[in-house]
Point group: C2
Chain length 392, copies 2
């Protein structure tokens, strides 16, 4: 399966007959469209004129937005100064810069099994060798992590909350243990917090950056934290950030300048406007809406899934992770699902650096209304049941 | 002088007492602000809703914008299909991708002397060895180009129109000769056409991509063409493009996906709207406005510049290139100019891959009204005259 898999699959979503669980994308029906429209309008009605919003700006990012991000991080227990935050074109660009900053050909990079495909795509051009760590329901298995860290990887990449793709959340105890082990081995942690705000049950857990900061008088030393507004606000403005020690941010600012100068000025101003006014209320609304969809998917799986199929029960995020009966292939199932029952998803193997996980698939519930989720799971379950004897 | 020179200098522009000839930036007073405001407004008033404009999109870029670019390229004699065009975050990102695509550590890259600093910043992370080709008033000196090409560089990078930094335009005859030589040696040409529309006198010359296409039945085979809306429309939307043979674009699309997924969806839609309605009329207006400033700078230099100072006479673009008397240093002059006469510019040495050009400076006339240009040149001339005995 090629690196452009997700991209090719995203194209399927536009076919109306397809029930797509493929893209890990927010539902546009939940976008804060009115607030965004008003924010763009305000830019052009401003007394100082729109000139500054349409001009080049500094590579670090729009000052007031970085200040907002610093305040947001502080609420999470992380003290990050203005010079420890870089605004990036989504958190994808932060991952790309981290790859460029830290990986040389043949260097080890530790990832979980499975891990976020976009991170592999960002890191792989820098030619790392991956060491893949198995997960249980509380996160990376510590014995495997210890073994991986002993091999001195350049960093550990982790999505601690409602991981893309498998929905797992790293437990508080496990977070402390991971940080302790990484600190002991001197291995930085790259924390991808793209989904952290989308929790539908249970208590919010401190980020790895927050735990690290609490141990170090407020500022993280071991953790590079990547944040994004793509899941909480909208993806199309391409605004994310990376918070890291000053020396790393300084180097990434130069990368940003060489890569594309800066994130769209007007989009940064608009993002600052909307997060300043509606961040908390909007995220609260999203939690309610996406919870309903998660619940619909879990209920449909309970009602329809055939024997031998297991799934995760995510506390948030956008994904349920399915393990098909041993011997069944996610790629083959996708081909049949699209052709025979008009259902799409992402085969799980794409999320394994070691190309295992052949019998896994990722289902996203975020962009599909509850009734269609139920119908899609019903169709898919029928297909899996039908495929079972063939695979056995 | 560090790689962050231009960035640091851009920060000076905000100090009102400084007359800045530093940034190669458009004047916000000339931005098509009303058209842009209306275009954003239309996105939110559309019958189909703004959801699509705020959602993720494909990495290749917004279809209608790529179609407009294809039509624009066709007007310039270049037949580029949809799959031969990638929308990038300004042409800076196109340069970055070209570096990633073509340069390995130690590979030769041919550039002119001087060349665009941003291109050096985009290429240098991939660790090329530069071979620098001297220029005369018609472009790169052919004897030096021949020698450079014989060493088999990965590509030749060229800004054929009103080059940043020295304002030189490659003559028609020289364009043909360069293409012939590059074709004979099998060396691709990277054509940076950022300023091509801003011609204030003389006839528009065909792009290298256009000449190449005419020789090859309409499609270029030897030229990778980088375009930008930053100078013709506005920089802040971060929309540019690269037109290249399909195989190269396919690889750059994967780079785009790994780097930041795609250019801001809404910004691409807005850019498509405004170029569709005002491109020709707006560019015509810009030509008039910037010509006045170029003329003011050339007149002021003729009136005030001391003996021993020479300068280029650009037919377009944003830059006049100054050669100071031998032995005088552009960096030292900048430090004194900022401190003593509140004038800023960019020392020329930054634009030389071989770090020559110590006695050169780049003056941008684009962002300064004619009277302030005259005053700035007067002050700078006084300072140079004052510095002359010291340097002699």
């Amino acid at each position: 399966m090629s690196a452009s898999e997700i991209r090719e699959l995203l194209k399927l979503i536009d076919r109306p007959e397809i029930i797509s669980f493929a893209g890990g994308i927010p539902d546009p029906d939940f976008f804060p469209t009115a607030a965004i429209a008003r924010a763009y309008e305000k830019v052009f009605q401003s007394n100082t004129g729109a000139g500054g919003a349409l001009q080049y700006t500094i590579s670090e990012g729009y000052g007031p937005l970085r200040e907002w991000i610093a305040g947001y991080m502080a609420r999470k227990g992380v003290r990050a100064g203005m010079d420890e935050i870089l605004v990036t074109s989504g958190s994808q660009q932060a991952l790309e810069f981290i790859g460029k900053l830290l990986i040389g050909p043949g260097d080890l990079v530790a990832v979980t099994k499975p891990t976020y495909l976009g991170a592999l795509q960002a890191f792989s051009p820098y030619e790392p060798t991956y060491v893949s760590i198995a997960m249980d329901e509380d996160g990376p298995v510590l014995a495997e992590l210890e073994e991986a860290l002993a091999a001195k990887p350049k960093f550990l990449y982790l999505v601690p909350d409602f991981q893309n793709p498998n929905g797992t959340t790293v437990s508080l105890e496990r977070r402390h243990a991971i940080l302790e082990m990484c600190t002991a081995h001197g291995v930085p942690v790259v924390e991808d917090a793209a989904y952290a705000e989308l929790r539908y049950e249970g208590e919010f857990l401190p980020s790895l950056a927050g735990i690290d900061a609490a141990r170090n008088g407020g500022s993280p030393t071991q953790v590079i934290h990547c944040g994004s507004f793509s899941k909480t606000m909208v993806p199309a403005l391409r605004v994310g950030w990376v918070a890291a020690p000053k020396a790393a941010v300084e180097r990434m600012v130069l990368m940003k300048q060489a890569a594309d100068l800066h994130v769209s000025t007007i989009n940064q101003i608009v993002m600052h406007d909307i997060v300043g006014s509606i961040f908390d209320s909007h995220v609260k609304r999203l939690r309610g809406a996406y919870k309903e969809r998660r619940d619909a998917m879990l209920q449909a799986l309970a009602d329809f899934a055939p024997e031998g199929v297991t799934w995760t029960r995510p506390q948030g995020g956008m994904f349920v992770w399915i393990e098909l009966p041993e011997g069944m292939c996610g790629v083959t199932l996708l081909e049949r699902a699209i052709r025979e029952v008009n259902v799409a998803f992402v085969p799980g193997a794409a999320f394994f650096a070691d190309r295992s996980g052949r019998n896994t698939i990722r289902l996203s519930f975020s962009a599909t209304p509850p009734e269609r989720i139920r119908e899609g799971i019903r169709r898919l379950s029928t297909l899996v049941r039908d495929a079972l004897p063939v695979a056995a």
